[in-house]
């Protein structure tokens, strides 16, 4: 398989990005990025720090305006939507922020209630408290329901953020470095949780990471974002055998400095 071409299946993709360009002033971050996310897929995006990974997924939910190119989520072109349509798409797309982004002034319960109260139509006939407790139980933190975010450890915050994102039952989940800043054991717990979510919710995921263990375990397919474009694409095994030095750099063990 040609690893530089976007990979297609017969199913309609949930996310399509064609020729995405974005710059901040003179800083060109994305220079024609393409991506397809298929149903039930776990797509990992690898890239160096500052390569524009966060900017890329923020374009998907309209947090960052695109300069050029097409961004289509669930068949809708994001830049052309009005506020109401955008809000609807956002309920279908879960977003786990890089630093968890829990609301500091609210308890864990209120953090989870927040998206629910903004979308009462999503609650249907369910009871709010029950939904909140269920979401917390699914990340193993039911006991923390009345704590403030400042009282939680980094790993717990990440779990609460996961629960808050899951509460509206999204069809697509975007993870921005879900394991960054966590120790390997906690990181592994989060990875297991993501795999379980993938199984239980039957959602497609786009995962941004530096963590190669995470990429290996989670990914069905990976894209390397380098120089603002999709530099290489393929499964973990395919990419790990690549001879391209820029691709190889991601798989290299850290070498001690030889003096």
């Amino acid at each position: 398989m040609d690893i530089t071409k976007p990979y297609r299946t017969t199913k309609t993709p949930l996310i399509e990005i064609y020729g995405l360009r974005k710059s901040f002033g003179s800083n060109e971050v994305l220079k024609g990025f393409d991506l397809l996310l298929n149903p039930n897929e776990n797509l990992v995006i690898l890239g160096k720090s500052g390569s524009g990974k966060s900017v890329l997924i923020k374009c998907l939910v309209g947090l960052v305006d695109v300069d050029e190119g097409k961004v289509i989520v669930l068949g809708k072109s994001i830049p052309d939507l009005n506020q109401k349509e955008l809000d609807y798409i956002r309920t279908e797309v879960g977003f786990l922020f890089q630093g968890s982004a829990l609301y500091d002034s609210m308890t864990v319960r209120e953090n989870l209630q927040f998206p629910l109260r903004r979308h009462p139509e999503r609650m249907q006939h369910f009871n709010e408290e029950k939904l909140v407790r269920e979401a917390l139980r699914s990340v193993g933190l039911e006991y923390a329901i009345d704590l403030m975010p400042a009282e939680l450890s980094g790993g717990m915050k990440r779990r609460v953020a996961l629960a808050r994102m899951l509460i509206l039952q999204p069809k697509i989940i975007l993870y921005d470095e879900p394991t960054s800043g966590l120790d390997p054991i906690t990181a592994n717990e989060i990875i297991q949780l993501i795999l379980r979510i993938q199984r239980d919710y039957n959602a497609a995921s786009l995962i941004i990471t530096h963590d190669m263990d995470c990429a290996r375990v989670i990914s069905n397919r990976m894209i390397i974002l380098q120089d603002g474009i999709n530099y290489a694409e393929g499964t973990y095994t395919e990419l790990s055998k690549s001879t391209d030095p820029k691709v190889k750099a991601f798989f290299k063990e850290v070498q001690p400095i030889s003096l």
Binding site: K58, V61, L63, Q83, D87, R90, T91, V93, F95, F97, Q98, G99, A101, L102, Y103, D104, S105, F114, P115, R118, H119, L168
Partner: protein, 256 residues
């Protein structure tokens, strides 16, 4: 030249704040109104600054009376004390001191709170969960400062007058009834009305600048500190400008 750049930057910032204010007015009257958050903010803003404002108000009344009394005595005009202190507290000192205290207390806390919400992506998180963060965070806070500042000013005025009364009572054996009769006899609507209107504007300036600085704070924790600090500095400066304009206008309408 460096100094010219700084002046240019200053005007650029004022322009940006004007745009921010325009956005506020565009969203401020649109539904849905975030009532709960507004009430919570009123409580936070009013309650947290009440003690500070009351203490400063009290001391202000004491000190003003202690300082002015000997001079008035020299002229044999102690009987004008209640009127004079009343007018100066209600017209100018009460609103300005309260606003400055609140610029320090409220302006910096709004700047720091919104700044840290910005850098930790909480504002983005709000936006993706279907909330307009400008409405939820900025509009409610500005409305809350606009409504709470006049209340705090009234509290400061009242306590300041009481402080002044204590001095008069101890030094000049003036009774409570006499003191306040004198004060209210000499206060007209022409004193109260502009002072209250002015307080609304002071509240607006404090909320606006705090929110503007926080909402546009730079990445990183350093940016949050800078947002809080510059909110206080800029708000205090603008308060004096607003005060000057207010006095100028009031002077036209109410010939002294």
């Amino acid at each position: 030249m460096k100094i010219l750049d700084e002046i240019a930057n200053y005007f650029k910032e004022i322009g940006e704040i004007a745009l921010f204010a325009k956005r506020f007015f565009k969203e401020a009257f649109k539904r849905p109104f975030e009532r709960k958050e507004f009430i919570r903010q009123c409580f936070v803003i009013g309650y947290n600054s009440l003690f500070l404002v009351v203490v400063t108000g009290f001391i202000m009344g004491l000190v003003l009376t202690l300082q002015v009394r000997p001079t008035m005595q020299e002229f044999g005009a102690e009987s004008f004390m209640p009127a004079m202190v009343g007018i100066s507290i209600v017209r100018e000192i009460g609103p300005v001191i309260t606003a400055l205290i609140c610029a320090g207390k409220i302006g910096s806390s709004i700047g720091a709170e919104l700044g840290s919400m910005k850098v930790t992506e909480q504002i983005d998180a709000m936006e993706v969960s279907g909330t307009n963060p400008f409405k939820y965070l900025v509009v409610t806070r500005i409305w809350a400062t606009v409504f709470m500042l006049p209340m705090l000013v009234i509290a400061a005025d009242a306590v300041g007058l009481f402080g002044s009364f204590l001095v008069e009572n101890v030094k000049g054996a003036v009774s409570f009834k006499l003191f306040f009769n004198q004060v209210f006899e000499n206060l007209s609507y022409g004193d109260l009305f502009p002072a209250t209107i002015k307080s609304f504007f002071f509240g607006f300036v404090i909320g606006l600048v705090g929110c503007y600085k926080g909402y546009n704070s730079d990445k990183g924790t350093e940016g949050v500190g800078r947002a809080a600090n510059s909110a206080v500095v800029l708000a205090s400066l603008l308060l004096f400008i607003v005060d000057f304009i207010a006095v100028f206008i009031a002077d036209i309408f109410y010939e002294i």
